[in-house]
């Protein structure tokens, strides 16, 4: 320790340490350069697409349609949509597309056999087709991107592509998916049959859209699309091995939507599980006023259920002034499995319940998807939610054939006579369709009574499964939304026996009497300041009597594009009517 210069040795030692000291790379995340090698990599990546399944969006979608009256006025239904500022508000989002396209740009690098690779590419293209189908329904024309974009890509600023190009691209993707996906049925993953079901849905949508939106000048191409719908549906019906769920029980229809395990009719469902803490809130949405808002079926929807003998409800004398107890008698069996009717009991509950007007001011409580009382705690439902159901394919087939004018008895027996069977309805016979003026009134210009019956069956069978809005759009029946929706009919105010058991259980009043003046065992419902009966002293409950709803046919069939995107990309044009 004589010399301080020993220190110099230390200094030199320290300064001579490795030059790549500042090079540090991530070790617990993968990089795209080293990924996409094995089938496992392809599986792991494509698993991310299942986040795009609609989940509980399916069961809330009809809350924005003429099937349901919403206590909080829905801007979509009321024609109160505003031009959004950001892409997020507008739904003009492309993140899913990028995720899918990134896979399609890289999967070829995997060191596995082509059919295996194609299987996953088919999965990706299925999800891409679905993505573009959603975007096209919303915006009409959309820009088509077959690959991922870089920040300096001129295509960032391209104009929208026509719906014709989009439809053709969707069908190309779907045909690839149908050819390469597994044919093994599986109701939690996407298979060949799921792709066929989507093709059936897309082609029916676009075929009818082009047929009825004549201003597009695409009507000539409609029959080809409808034919594709028939073909895709037919292949699934013939070779898919699916069947309509029917045990003969009067609860078949209800059980299909309240059980955790999907049945033979379900092609693809979103699955839920308590242990995995993946649950939804159907019981809350449809029963608790503070969750999902106050919602109830409209009278118009309830009226569209046939009588058990197959005749229209409108054929009854004075059908429009019947009270709850009468109007619910002898109807399609599916009615009592979709909404509260006299004698309704919860699954697992013993007492019969009358309608809860607080939850459903129209008086028609929605019960489809409401599982047993053990799922009443907030967000605890585990019943599977359908994404593709065989019955839809049958209805698509029947509708496409009817639109083409080629439907025959055999077609009816293979399709809607199977779904009607669950309602206890007699089979429909070609040439023996009873015309329903109520139905003709809401679909003016349709002279084919069989087509009208098919549309009725679609509305009944698929209610609350998210089809009604897009059906109205493709049929160009937007004006149906601007009607003042009605609720239950009351010939007077005062006490009622809603469940028809001989004792009063309900009181319709203007203002709630003080507690001491109320009768026990009676549910009081006060119209208050905002609701009223259609003829003041009597009539149908009107939840929004004074609102002027609008459906501008020059504008409202499509959504507006976001302002920021139009200013970023001058080639992007706003949809008609929204400028």
């Amino acid at each position: 320790m004589k010399s301080p210069y020993y220190l110099l040795i230390l200094i030199v030692a320290l300064f001579s340490c490795n030059k790549d000291f500042l090079d540090r790379y991530p070790v617990t995340e993968v990089s795209p350069q080293t990924f996409f090698r094995t089938e496992q990599d392809l599986i792991m990546y494509t698993n991310s697409f299942y986040a795009y399944l609609p989940g509980d969006a399916v069961i809330s979608a009809d809350l924005s349609s003429d099937n349901v009256e919403n206590g909080t006025l829905d801007p979509l239904v009321a024609g109160m949509r505003v031009i959004p500022v950001t892409f997020g508000e507008a739904g003009w989002t492309f993140n899913r597309l990028r995720n899918i396209n990134f896979f399609l740009a890289n999967y070829q690098r995997a060191e596995v056999a082509d059919p295996v690779k194609n299987k996953y590419a088919g999965l990706a293209r299925f999800f891409r087709a679905w993505y573009y189908f959603d975007m096209m329904q919303r915006f009409g024309d959309v820009p088509w991107y077959g690959g991922t974009l870089e920040t300096n890509d001129p295509d960032l600023y391209k104009a929208r592509d026509s719906r014709v190009l989009i439809t053709d691209s969707i069908l190309a993707d779907l045909d690839f998916a149908i050819a390469s996906l597994d044919a093994q049925k599986n109701n939690s993953t996407v298979t060949k049959w799921t792709a066929l079901a989507l093709k059936s849905r897309v082609t029916l949508f676009e075929g009818t859209y082009r047929k009825y939106h004549t201003a597009l000048n695409l009507a000539a191409s409609a029959p080809a699309l409808l034919t594709k719908c028939v073909e895709a549906s037919d292949e699934l019906m013939k070779n898919g091995g699916y069947s309509t769920f029917y045990t003969g029980s009067q609860f078949d229809y209800r059980n299909m939507f309240t059980s955790q395990a999907p049945n033979s009719e379900v092609i693809l469902a979103t699955h839920y599980n308590t242990t995995l803490v993946r649950t939804h809130n159907a019981n809350g949405i449809f029963q608790t006023p503070t969750q999902g808002g106050t919602v109830g079926f409209t009278k118009d929807f309830v009226d569209s259920y046939l009588m058990r003998d197959g005749t229209p409800f409108s054929a009854i004398d004075g059908y429009d002034t019947l009270g709850f107890a009468k109007e619910t008698q002898n109807r399609d069996l599916r009615m009592s499995q979709t909404m509260r009717t006299p004698g309704y009991t919860r699954i697992g509950g013993a007492t019969s319940l009358i309608p809860d007007f607080v939850k459903s001011p129209t008086g028609y409580n929605i019960t489809k998807f409401v599982a047993g009382i053990e799922y009443d705690a907030y967000n605890s439902n585990v019943n599977a939610l359908p994404v593709f159901r065989y019955s839809e394919v049958l209805l698509n087939y029947a509708e496409a054939k009817a639109e083409l004018g080629t439907i025959n008895q055999d077609d009816l027996d293979r399709t809607i006579n199977l779904t009607r069977r669950r309602g206890g309805l007699p089979a429909l016979t070609v040439g023996a369709v009873v015309p329903d003026p109520a139905l003709q009134a809401i679909y003016p210009g349709i002279t084919d009574n069989l087509l009208l019956e098919i549309r009725r069956e679609r509305r009944i069978e698929l209610v609350m499964e998210g089809f009604r809005w897009s059906d109205l759009m493709r049929w160009r029946r937007g004006p149906l939304l601007q009607r003042t929706f009605k609720g239950m009919y009351f010939g007077r105010k005062g006490l009622f026996d809603l469940d028809n058991n001989g004792s009063n259980d309900f009181a319709l009043v203007d203002v709630l009497p003080p507690p001491g003046d109320r009768l026990p065992g009676i549910q009081y419902f006060a119209l208050g300041a905002t609701m009223k009966l259609s003829n003041d002293s009597k009539g149908n409950i009107l939840v929004h009597p004074n609102v002027n709803k609008v459906f501008d046919e020059g504008k409202h069939y499509l959504y507006p594009l976001p302002l920021t995107e139009i200013s970023l990309n001058t080639n992007l044009e706003q949809n008609p009517g929204w400028q």
Partner: protein, 1064 residues
């Protein structure tokens, strides 16, 4: 020792005291020697007042004593040849030869400016009067005898523009430090250095601190380079001093109480009726469940034997017997204890310091509480190997265990949020047969049965260093290596809850049932190597520091989780049998830099300092990773000029300073420039399981580089009336440029966020002022000394560039906007009639409720007269009817510190406050909004009787109407002038009263000094903020990113303690 701790708190206290005594006996008191000569005496200051704590050393030996409170000392020296040295900070040292004297009285004079306070700087120290950067320093007095659990609490308000935030009152909550305001959009925090190397200030014990310096401007921080761009906290711990072994023991016992817990209306019937009004206001008719409850409560009034009424999950069980949920939730008093022992001293070639601290604090929950334990140990040793070489070692061992009930019921929703939905006086926590109700189980049941969280943290830090006087008095070389291991073990159990759903059903609440164990280790290795050259000649003085610094950080995390706990009161991976998941994460970063500081002064009058650092980091691609960041500072001691002589009788010193410099900021993610794909467990259930999934990587720019932080600073220091009045003022501007943010906006078709680029700037302007008056005089024949110190500061941040927002959308950063701006509507009041409401501008866009506005509803001003109340394009150019109604930034933080000493008594009163701050309670701040948020929220006392009715048109709140504050498109959810809160406050942070026992009394027992004290924290608060919030906890849950709502946090507490300090 740890076993003994567990037995009982009382036993433990005794035990630790015993330990102290035994330790003292072992270390021993210096053995007596032959031929000694006793000397006594008294030390006084320039005003003949006794000076306490003066070190009296026998020159050339380790023999030393301190003077007591009366200035007296007593020492035994080797012989009459000995010389005594008297020294204390702030006074000139004095040497006296003993000769034949047995009584030596000494008067010390104030140190002249050159020998004044020494301030710790980066890689060195500097006399305070030569300082040119913006640096503040505090000493150990700030940390003494206070009921604080960590350093941050003691520092709140101690230094101007050192902002300290906790967020809530949870025991052991670490402080967040900020120096001089907004740093960067990417965050950023001051660099904390403990004895020259990075460390965690929240883990060390306050009593160990000798000095704490805050380096605020670029010139003082520049030497630390890339990690110091937002200032430096420089902590120097105590060291052993040559002389007699000194033993100090201090403790602190007391309890804490929650402040500002929500106050709910206690009458069940009144509460239910007000809720019914709110429901009615919302939907126009009565709520069936509430009608049932009201009917029941009325019946219960007449017949209190009625059983509990079951309603539904939304309401649960109803009882006529009132329940005060918050009283049941929080304990009135929770115990708190601290112990600290220090043993220090030094001999000719060795100095040593050894300390140990222990702290225990229980939490507030009555049902199943949380508790914090912290142990601190520090050992410092330095040995002179030769006349020019010293080696030293500094070891720190800190352990903290926070064991608490799982406060998150599901996802990130905490129990406070659930309490805010169920704490009705008419609702019961448990049913008569002992089951929790729905609401009871989500709050109380969650605490008791929902699982526990145990966070254990161990910090081990060791610095080994050498100091060499290579050329005596000219060149020194220092080198040190530090390894810092920071290990965290988190064990979390989540368990299912059951509750009574109905008289016939006990059911489960769906939530995870699992055990998650994670272990994280962070290791930081630091190497410092630097040389110091000092040279004085004639009027010139030069000091140069140059060196090298290297840091390497490795982080690794291992997490294992398995579902389904099998054993009721015990948790562990082996005690589960469900789905198992393991994961890990590893990250690394490294920096390397070369630095210098050149100081020069002429006659201590003209001062110059140049700093610089050439810095490299692993966080940027190799081409952009190095940067050079220089700074310069000048100072002028004006009071030394001849022409200023005339002021010298009054102004003892006057100094002007200015500095300018740039620093790099590398506080961004480790791998910002590298593309990676994250692998995660999918939420979707495929074939019965949730498989792993991955997706496309985000886009990254490959040319990322440093954010640059440029600071301009000017300051003035002044001392008046023989330094009795001292003042300092600094003004600064700090610009952070090229902040790494999303680049220029790209069309959404890109499908991912625009990659981050160096494309945003922010400018912070501020100032800080400190004033101190200290004096002493005699009352009777005893000295009375006092001091008052006040500090106030301010800063304001403005975004000066933000490329990603060309349209000026006010929901994100906008160039030219001040940060913290609150945009809102102007509230005109309430509609006086339905008619007025129907004729007023269309408010539908901000009142998405099912009924139209009526009398008693909020009336907004239509500022742009377009007949609609709206937000325009939500841009600064077209904000519709929005305007800037306030600012959420903290402005004018200030503090006042009062100290008095008389006889054996000392008193310290410390106030801390914020002069200006606005706060808008967000939509889910249900402690404030009550039923305006959701109808079934409790009715709070501040709302009952204070809402609009035709009879009470001037109430604070509008007509009762549920859901008005549910989201941001509702009349109360939208920010507006009427409910904007003034979050300014002044809080008596500390009141500490001490009494030092007379030396006569203590010396007989071998104790050189003893002091008893009482201390209180957070005793009084003055604020006009709503009682629903604590001004220091207005934000959301600290431990979760999930939105709960403002104010749903662990309550801030008042702490009252007493303790003793004994010096041996």
């Amino acid at each position: 020792m740890s076993k003994a701790c567990k037995s009982s708190p009382g036993a433990f206290r005794l035990h630790s005291f015993f330990c102290t005594l035994v330790l003292a006996a072992f270390i021993g008191l210096p053995a007596s020697a032959q031929d000694k000569k006793p000397v006594t005496g008294r030390v006084t200051d320039h005003k003949s007042q006794p000076l306490e704590g003066v070190t009296v050393t026998e020159s050339g030996t380790s023999n030393a004593v301190f003077t007591n409170a009366t200035g007296n000392f007593s020492i035994t020296v080797g012989s009459g040849e000995a010389t005594l040295e008297f020294s204390i900070v702030g006074f000139a040292a004095k040497r006296v030869r003993v000769s034949n004297l047995s009584n030596i009285d000494v008067q010390l004079s104030m140190a002249n400016q050159d020998l004044g306070e020494v301030v710790v700087l980066g890689y060195g120290t500097k006399a305070k009067n030569k300082l040119v950067g913006a640096v503040n320093q505090v000493g150990s007095e700030v940390f003494k005898n206070r009921a604080v659990t960590n350093v941050g609490q003691a520092l709140q308000g101690a230094i101007p523009n050192l902002n300290i935030n906790f967020g809530d009152g949870q025991p052991g909550r670490p402080a967040e430090f900020n120096i001089r305001g907004f740093n960067s959009i990417n965050g950023g925090a001051p660099l904390v250095l403990i004895d020259g190397v990075p460390g965690d200030v929240n883990m060390i014990t306050p009593e160990d601190i000798e000095t704490l310096s805050v380096l605020k401007d670029a010139s003082s921080a520049a030497i630390y380079g890339a990690r110091a761009s937002f200032g430096v906290l420089l902590i120097t711990t105590k060291s052993g001093k040559k002389g007699k072994t000194r033993i100090r023991y201090t403790n602190n016992f007391g309890y804490s109480q929650p402040l500002r817990t929500p106050k709910v209306v206690s009458d069940p019937l009144q509460a239910a009726e007000i809720q019914q009004l709110a429901w009615n206001g919302y939907i126009g008719s009565n709520n069936v469940s509430l009608t049932q409850i009201i009917d029941y409560l009325e019946a219960y009034k007449n017949d209190p034997t009625l059983p509990q009424l079951w309603i539904s999950n939304a309401i649960g069980y109803v009882s006529g017997k009132p329940t005060d949920w918050y009283k049941e939730m929080f304990r009135d008093n929770t115990p708190f204890s601290r112990h600290f022992v220090e043993i220090s001293g030094g001999a000719e070639k060795v100095n040593y310091y050894l300390s140990g601290g222990l702290q225990k604090q229980d939490g507030l929950f009555r049902t199943a509480t949380d508790n914090l334990k912290r142990y601190n140990l520090r050992g410092k040793l330095s040995i002179d190997l030769s006349s020019w070489l010293r080696v030293s070692n500094n070891t720190e061992l800190n352990n903290e265990v926070f064991d608490s009930p799982q406060k998150f019921t599901s996802g990130g929703s905490n129990i406070y949020r659930f309490m805010s939905q169920f704490a009705h006086p008419y609702q019961t926590i448990k049913t008569d047969d002992g089951y929790y109700t729905y609401g009871g189980t989500l709050s109380f049941g969650q605490l008791e049965n929902g699982g526990r969280v145990s966070n254990r943290r161990d910090v081990l830090r060791n610095t080994t260093g050498i100091q060499a006087d290579v050329i005596k008095g000219l060149l020194k070389v220092n080198g040190d290596f530090t390894a810092w291991w920071d290990r965290r073990r988190n064990d979390v159990s989540n368990r299912r809850l059951t509750y009574r759903q109905s008289p016939t059903a006990v059911v489960q609440f769906v939530k995870p049932d699992n055990f998650i164990s994670s272990y994280a280790q962070n290791q930081l290795n630091t190497i410092n190597l630097y040389a110091t050259l000092t040279k004085q000649w004639n009027d010139h003085s030069v000091d140069l520091v140059a060196g090298f610094n290297q840091e390497e950080n490795r982080y690794s995390l291992f997490t294992a989780q398995r579902d389904n706990n099998l054993v009721e009161n015990q948790s562990g991976l082996s005690l589960t049998d469900g789905v198992a998941t393991v994961s890990d994460r590893k990250t690394e970063w490294a920096t390397r830099g070369y630095f210098y500081r050149l100081g020069y002064d002429f006659q201590s009058k003209y001062l110059l300092e140049l700093n610089g650092r050439y810095d490299g980091t692993s966080r940027f691609p190799s081409g952009n990773r190095f940067g050079f960041f220089p700074s310069a500072a000048i100072g002028w001691m004006a009071s030394r000029e001849k022409f200023m002589e005339f002021i010298q009788p009054v102004v003892s010193h006057l100094k002007l300073r200015a500095s300018y410099g740039a620093l790099g900021n590398q506080q961004v993610d480790e791998y910002s420039y590298i593309t990676t794909m994250n692998i995660y467990r999918s939420a979707a259930i495929l074939n019965g399981a949730q498989p792993l999934a991955t997706g496309s990587p985000t886009l990254v720019a490959t040319d990322l580089t440093w954010e640059t932080v440029t600071t301009k600073n000017a300051g003035i220091d002044i001392g008046v009336l023989n330094e009795r009045l001292q003042a300092g003022f600094d003004i600064y501007e700090r610009k952070t440029t090229d902040m790494l943010v999303a680049g220029a906006a790209l069309p959404a078709v890109l499908g991912t966020g625009a990659p981050r680029e160096n494309s945003a700037d922010v400018s912070v302007k501020g100032w800080e002022l400190s004033l101190q008056w200290a004096d002493k005089f005699n009352i009777g024949n005893k000295p009375f000394s006092y001091s008052i110190r006040a500090i106030v500061a301010d800063n304001k941040a403005v975004i000066t560039r933000y490329d990603n927002n060309p349209s000026g959308n006010i929901s994100t950063y906008v160039a030219g906007e001040q940060l913290g701006t609150i945009w809102g509507f102007e509230t005109l009041g309430f509609f006086v009639s339905d008619d007025e409401a129907s004729k007023w501008a269309d408010q539908t866009q901000v009142s998405e409720l099912i009924n139209q506005p009526l009398a008693g509803d909020i009336k907004f001003a239509d500022l742009n007269n377009d007949g609609k109340i709206n937000r325009g394009d939500l841009t600064t150019a077209n904000p519709g009817d929005l305007r800037r109604i306030g600012n959420s930034s903290i402005r004018f933080p200030y503090s006042i510190d009062l100290r008095f000493q008389y006889g054996g008594f000392d008193l310290n009163v410390f106030f801390q406050g914020v002069g200006k701050r606005d706060f808008y309670p967000s939509r889910e701040a249900a402690h404030f909004w009550g039923f305006y948020n959701r109808w079934n929220n409790p009715v709070y006392e501040h709302i009952a009787g204070n809402y609009w009715t035709p009879e009470n048109p001037n109430a604070y709140f509008p007509r009762p109407r549920a859901y008005m504050a549910l989201n941001e498109n509702r009349p109360l959810g939208v920010k507006q002038t009427r409910y904007l809160q003034n979050a300014a406050y002044l809080r008596m942070k500390t009141l500490a009263l001490g009494y030092s026992l007379p030396a006569k009394l203590t010396q007989k027992t071998g104790i050189s000094g003893a002091r008893v004290f009482f201390s209180g924290q957070n005793l009084i608060t003055w604020t006009s903020l709503s009682k629903a919030f604590d001004p220091e906890a207005i934000s959301d849950e600290v431990d979760s990113g999930t939105f709960n709502g403002d104010g749903f946090v662990y309550p801030v507490q008042r702490v009252l303690t007493a303790g003793v300090e004994i010096n041996f």
